[in-house]
Amino acid sequence: MFRDSQFRPVALNTVIMIVGTVLISVILGLFLALLLDRKFIGRSLIRTLLITPSLITPVAGALIWKTTMFDPVFGLINFALCPFGVGQIDWVSRFPLAAVMTNLVWQWTPFMMLLILAGLQSMPKDIAEAARVDGAGPFKLFRELTFPHLRRFIELGAVLGAIYLVNTFDAVYMMTSGGPGVASANLPFYIYQRAFLGFDIGQAAAMGVVTVVATIIVSTLALRLIFKSFSGNEEAA
């Protein structure tokens, strides 16, 4: 398995996919949660609209992105970018991994947003008020008070997201089928390819084991961190 020349790029794809998706969706989710933490007209409507992507079946979500958004001729992305001189780009085959990740980010941002929003709303208001009276600006307030409070929620979201994203299969299968070559294949998809298309069941099983061992090592460390930060403080939740 380790001599398989395709294993390494596939493993690297998996890492890029997970780390990239988690990072981008946490940042976007944090931004959206901060936006939704204020009162404005239509706030609950916007919150519902923002949550919708995570309610869509992953297969349907992948199809939406592949056929209506990224399509080279009929896609809405190309239509929207047309005035800026972007021609008919076949996004899915030119940037396969990025295309799959866009779909994943779209589906995972609402989850992160909800988690962080819950964190924001569990934050005691009097401390922020006191800091504001003491003359702390919005940026300082965020850095010194809000962010340390949200850290636990962000960590939890990142670990949960990563654990689920290791298993991403439907998005890859629907959008690119791992291609071109193995440019966008991740480990689950490659295992599927080896087992059910290549009939190399032994190798597929070995890769399954490697995936699990690697994730267990990473998530042990991450979960330790979370258990520690959540059991240390009772008001979390």
Binding site: L35, L36, G61, I64, T68, I191, A195, A204, V209
Partner: protein, 204 residues
């Protein structure tokens, strides 16, 4: 300053420019509005693909795939009729069956396990919980591999048949359901378990 504003409350109604009023008006139309607009735009951008899917569902085939994309069109229910006529019933029944039965099994297995672990914690309960969660990270396809071999070895069906049944193309056969299903059961138990346990510990 603050005493002055509280004393002159009736004076505020008069459109005379006092400091407090000017500041208040600025905060109404200043950065606050911009952030609200940003929130609206973000919400619509995130929702747009879903909206487009819904719109496309009501289009004729020619309108659905067109360049430039059509925002205005004469709506039709043809596509829905087509889907309902093509035998979506079996798929729906399969989904309902898998969902309901696996939820029941998860509860049946998860609740006693959670109770047992919270009432009489074994040594290193945390490690046990972690072991449960770790099966969640096993890729579904990797979990199907052994099931696939088992099905092949049973000899109840020929190998080819088993292979077809394990392929992820949804065409409604029982054996493929069973594979996916036992996996779902296992992994969902794990995500339910720690939560139930925590709840049980907090609320004895």
């Amino acid at each position: 300053m603050s005493t002055a504003t509280t004393n002159n409350k009736p004076k505020k109604a008069v459109p005379q420019t006092s400091d407090g009023v000017a500041i208040k008006r600025k905060s109404n139309w200043g950065p606050g509005t911009i952030w609200s607009v940003v929130a609206w735009v973000a919400g619509i951008v995130f929702f747009f693909p879903v909206l487009w899917m819904v719109l496309t569902g009501f289009k004729q085939e020619a309108d659905a795939y067109s360049d430039p994309p059509k925002l205005f069109f004469t709506p039709t229910l043809d596509q829905y009729r087509g889907v309902l006529d093509s035998g979506i019933g079996t798929a729906l029944l399969n989904s309902a069956f898998a969902t309901i039965v696996s939820t029941l099994l998860v509860l049946l297995l998860g609740v006693p396990a959670a109770f047992a672990l919270s009432l009489r914690p074994v040594k290193k309960t945390k490690d046990v919980l972690f072991f449960f969660i770790s099966t969640k990270v096993l890729p579904v396809v990797a979990a199907i591999v052994p099931l696939y071999v088992i099905v092949g070895d049973i000899g109840e069906h020929r190998f080819e048949q088993a292979r077809r049944r394990c392929s992820p193309v949804p065409s409604g056969h029982r054996r493929a359901d069973l594979g996916a299903f036992s996996y779902v059961r296992g992994s969902w138990m794990l995500s339910v378990l720690p939560r139930t346990r925590t709840a049980a510990v907090i609320d004895p």
